[in-house]
């Protein structure tokens, strides 16, 4: 095959990262808008303005999430199986929160009743705020290790509980993730609105940007003390994936190894800080498009930091560290990774092209006048 197996395994780690970052930037900004909706919009027209900034795009953006899930299924089937079944109630909470989005967007303005509209507004809030919160909590648990093991046939057994996921460090990660998404959404909302909504969004940008900086720094410091994981046996990156064939230890500070052995990787958390700070400054000055680009970079930096800290681990096991899932031993076959790589290579640029075109067509400020004139067709 054209690309050797070890290289492809690393490429797929990067590609899953790209898809997660794409999800956080694209679906993230309209989730952020959903979270802000009941607070930034003070009356029905304002809320319709807010909803219509993402109205034409939320559906396409949500596919980043769906494709991300599909890609993890195809590239890391064992991760998909273990994480989704282990985090059963957390995943269902994400799913049920997401239920509110398609119906919330499409059905809200189809009936005039204030109680109807307010119900869907809060539904959109739940659909925007709950998924990033849970994903943050999930990442917080990945960084600490998750209680699971395999039997000899590679059936996975999760031995923790839902409430066990809600530990202090994981909750901090949940705050970081929610702040990041809301910050990003608030910048987008500034870019697409004017007047009161613009001003309130600006306040939200400063608030959540500050929270993000503090939370991210706190989590970084905390991470020094959290036991990380390290592989102690020799790994053959070209071997057929078998997650039971290695030895792993838990050790405090292990999540710092990559930064020590490859100092260049410090660029990733640095990018997170640079992106967030630049986004804050640019947004404060009213340069909203540049701020959006900067917060996208910051988002990539935050997610990348979690990834680089853990590499090559994806899903460490706290109860049976040797069974931890890594980039080397939880992947699909060489053929499947190759096919999926080329499929992504071909379609990703096409997706980016038509998504950009869609944003270009719908560009400009959404105003109260627009909503009134298009009362029958707008959301």
């Amino acid at each position: 095959m054209i690309i050797d197996y070890p290289t492809l395994k690393v490429i797929w780690w990067l590609l899953v990262g790209v898809l997660l970052v794409g999800f956080a930037i694209m679906d993230g900004h309209d989730m952020g808008v959903g979270s802000l909706l009941p607070f930034v919009g003070h009356n029905d027209v304002e809320r319709r303005v807010i909803i219509n900034t993402v109205g034409p795009h939320w559906d396409g953006n949500q596919v980043w999430f769906i494709t991300g899930g599909g890609a993890i299924f195809a590239a890391w089937p064992l991760v998909y199986a273990t994480a989704f079944s282990g985090f059963y109630w957390a995943m269902l909470a994400v799913l049920w929160a997401l239920f509110f989005r398609p119906v919330g967007f499409d059905y809200r303005s189809k009936i005039h009743h204030p109680a109807w509209r307010s119900t869907w507004d809060w539904g959109l809030f739940v659909g925007g705020a709950v998924p990033p919160l849970i994903f943050g909590v999930a990442f917080g648990n990945l960084l600490q290790g998750v209680p699971f093991h395999f039997d000899n046939t590679l059936a996975s057994y999760y031995t923790g509980s839902f409430w066990g996921l809600l530990n202090p460090f994981a909750l901090l990660c949940g705050v970081v993730s929610t702040a990041m998404i809301t910050f990003h959404g608030a910048i987008y909302l500034m870019h697409r609105t004017e007047g009161d909504i613009y001003q309130r969004s600006r306040t939200a940008v400063l608030l959540f940007g500050g929270l993000l900086l503090v939370g991210f720094s706190l989590a970084g410091v905390w991470l020094q003390w959290i036991p990380g994981y390290a592989i102690t046996s020799v790994i053959d990156p070209a071997a057929l994936p078998d997650p039971l064939a290695k030895e792993v230890v838990r050790a405090a500070g292990a999540w710092m190894h990559n930064y020590q052995s490859h100092p260049a990787t410090i660029a990733v958390p640095a990018l997170a800080y640079l992106g967030i700070i630049a986004a804050l400054l640019l947004a404060a000055k009213g340069r909203t498009l540049a701020a959006f680009v900067a917060s996208s970079i910051g988002t990539a930096g935050v997610i990348g930091t979690a990834g680089v800290s853990m590499f090559p681990f994806i899903l460490p096991s706290s109860t049976t560290p040797n069974a931890s899932l890594t980039v080397w031993d939880s992947v699909s076959s060489h053929l499947t990774l190759t096919i999926m790589f080329f499929a992504t290579l071909i379609f990703m640029p096409i997706i980016v092209a038509y998504t950009s075109w869609a944003y270009k067509v719908m560009s400009g400020k959404v105003t109260a006048a627009y909503v009134r004139e298009n009362s029958h067709s707008a959301y």
């Binding site: 219509n52 396409g60 799913l95 996975s156």
Partner: protein, 518 residues
């Protein structure tokens, strides 16, 4: 061992959520092309009424689409949450078409649907038509990749088992893509969707005509729906036949079960119209049969013999016996990867590994297997005949009734006096639910008929589930029932409200009920 209750609840949850999702999918698939047709006429003629038609039917399409999106994510999640061992065991093959569906199709559909609704004033007529077309292509490609994945469950080609990774692995991607089962299933399923879309427009237009309101609008909609529906309904039946053919090759068990064919009959086998099925004694107490027909559609020949269930049972029992050796050899290899004798034995019986795994429902240790257990496992390989036999017949009967309806609707549409045929309009109105019933029946036959396997001949259903507690399943099932009931009520309420309001809901000032706003 995995509790049977857990397996049953997991199956119930998947079946319920999949069939619920499939209430919305066929209409989406069909409506996209009807919108393309209506808008094409608008672009060619410039008559605003065709734009209004595209927008009004598009509005109803949107109400339906929202629930299609909502309920579709559930299915993707559930492979991981509830079918973890399945996801691990076949994710190498099954995951790829799902991911490609996202990349190639769902992005396209979902991005352009936004422009379809909001781009009217910002795009030229031709650009907007292109947007609608892209949405339709995306929707149909989406169905293609999902059905490629589904067909691999029915007819698992292009893959091999690996003892080292303890899973199935892809060896031939193009065999998976060009799975003959997928080709037939795709055309059959999207055609059924087109019929559903056509029925939806035909019924509601008929209702306007019966009430004598928005007549010009309804007449034009009726004509398009009648012609499109007739072509689609014919395609469903002709290509349903094609589905039967591939079922015959890959899954003779399903074919024999849905035909209640207990004995192997001399070729070409007959097709039973109805029968009195006696599952306990594995026979039909009585039956009405058309000679030859099943053999012809099942094998496309007059001399290929189709095996009956009793013969299949005997064959499967033999495969289970070989399968025991395969499972034992696999377990030896898993204990000691260097055991080359065990690898050789595994290789010799690998084709029957899945059949050996059927026994895992009853024992963990293969040395404990008794002839009685082998009999039970063999009996498990025959799905229950009665539900398959009757649901299949209901689906086919509805298919022919729909051809008749669309045929007459087209006939009178060509003659031009369809609006005066009140019996036809009433028939069209009351037949509204029928395509949905037929679609659900078809889905049931395909999936229930695959039991006891998730992957036919490869992975038994009872091994595929996640190791969850039964309480978790009760909880999640209750949650789904609650959410889905509320969502269905809301959706139906809006659908009826806007269908009643009619094109007046667009607020163009050209139709009835213009005072009502939305």
């Amino acid at each position: 061992m995995i509790s049977e209750q857990l397996v049953d609840l997991s199956r119930l949850q998947f079946a319920a959520t999949a069939m619920y999702h499939f209430l919305f999918v066929p209409l989406t698939i069909g409506m996209t092309w009807i919108l393309v047709i209506m808008e094409s006429v608008y672009v060619m003629t410039g008559l605003p009424i065709y734009k209004d038609m595209t927008r009004f039917w598009g509005k109803l399409f949107g109400i339906n689409f929202a629930l299609g999106v909502t309920t579709g994510i559930t299915l993707e999640f559930q492979f991981g949450t509830n079918w973890a061992y399945y996801s691990h065991y076949v994710g190498d093959i099954f995951g790829a078409p799902l991911a490609i569906e996202g990349l190639m199709a769902f992005f396209l559909e979902s991005t352009f649907i936004g422009l379809f609704f909001f781009g009217w004033d910002r795009l030229s007529r031709k650009q907007h038509l292109l947007v609608t077309l892209m949405m339709a292509i995306g929707t149909n490609l989406s169905a293609l990749w999902i059905l490629i994945a589904n067909s691999w469950m029915q007819n698992p080609v292009g893959a091999e088992f690996s003892a080292t990774t303890m899973r199935m692995e892809m060896v031939d991607f193009w065999a998976v893509v060009f799975n003959p089962d997928a080709q037939a299933k795709f055309v059959h399923t999207v055609s059924a969707g087109y019929v559903t879309g056509a029925m939806f427009v035909l019924s509601i237009s008929a209702w306007y005509l019966l009430r004598g309101r928005d007549v010009a609008f309804a007449k034009r909609s009726f004509r398009i729906a009648a012609a499109f529906g007739l072509a689609s309904a014919l395609s469903v039946v002709v290509l349903g036949d094609e589905s039967g053919y591939t079922v015959g090759e890959a899954q003779q068990t399903k074919l024999a079960a849905m035909e209640a064919m207990w004995e192997t009959e001399p070729a070409p086998a007959g097709l039973k119209l109805i029968a009195g099925i006696n599952e306990a004694e594995m026979k039909n107490d009585w039956e009405i049969e058309i000679p030859w027909v099943l053999g012809l559609i099942g094998t496309r020949s007059t001399d290929t013999v189709l095996p009956g269930l009793k013969e299949i049972l005997v064959q499967n029992r033999a495969r289970i016996v070989y399968g025991i050796d395969a499972v034992k050899a696999l377990e030896a290899v898993r204990r000691n990867p260097d055991d080359s004798a065990a690898r050789t034995r595994l290789h010799a019986h690998q084709a029957d590994l899945g059949f050996g795994l059927l026994l895992k429902k009853y024992v963990t240790d293969m040395d404990q297997v008794t002839p009685e257990l082998i009999d039970r496992a063999a009996a498990d390989t025959i799905p229950r005949v009665t539900p398959l036999f009757w649901t299949f017949r209901l689906m086919v009967a509805l298919g022919f009734a729909l051809i008749a309806l669309f045929g007459l609707a087209t006939w009178y549409a060509v003659k031009g006096n369809f609006a005066e045929q009140r019996w036809l309009l009433r028939w069209a109105l009351w037949f509204l639910p029928m395509p949905w019933i037929a679609c659900e029946m078809g889905w049931f036959v395909a999936e229930y008929g695959r039991q006891p396997w998730t992957i036919y001949g490869v992975l038994p259903t009872h091994l595929s589930v996640s190791t969850l507690s039964v309480e978790s399943l009760y909880g999640s099932l209750a949650g789904f029932v609650g959410f889905y009931t509320v969502l269905l009520i809301v959706e139906m309420y809006l659908m009826v409200k806007f269908a009643r309001q009619g094109p007046g809901s667009l607020g163009t000032g050209r139709y009835l009920n213009e005072t009502a706003s939305a």
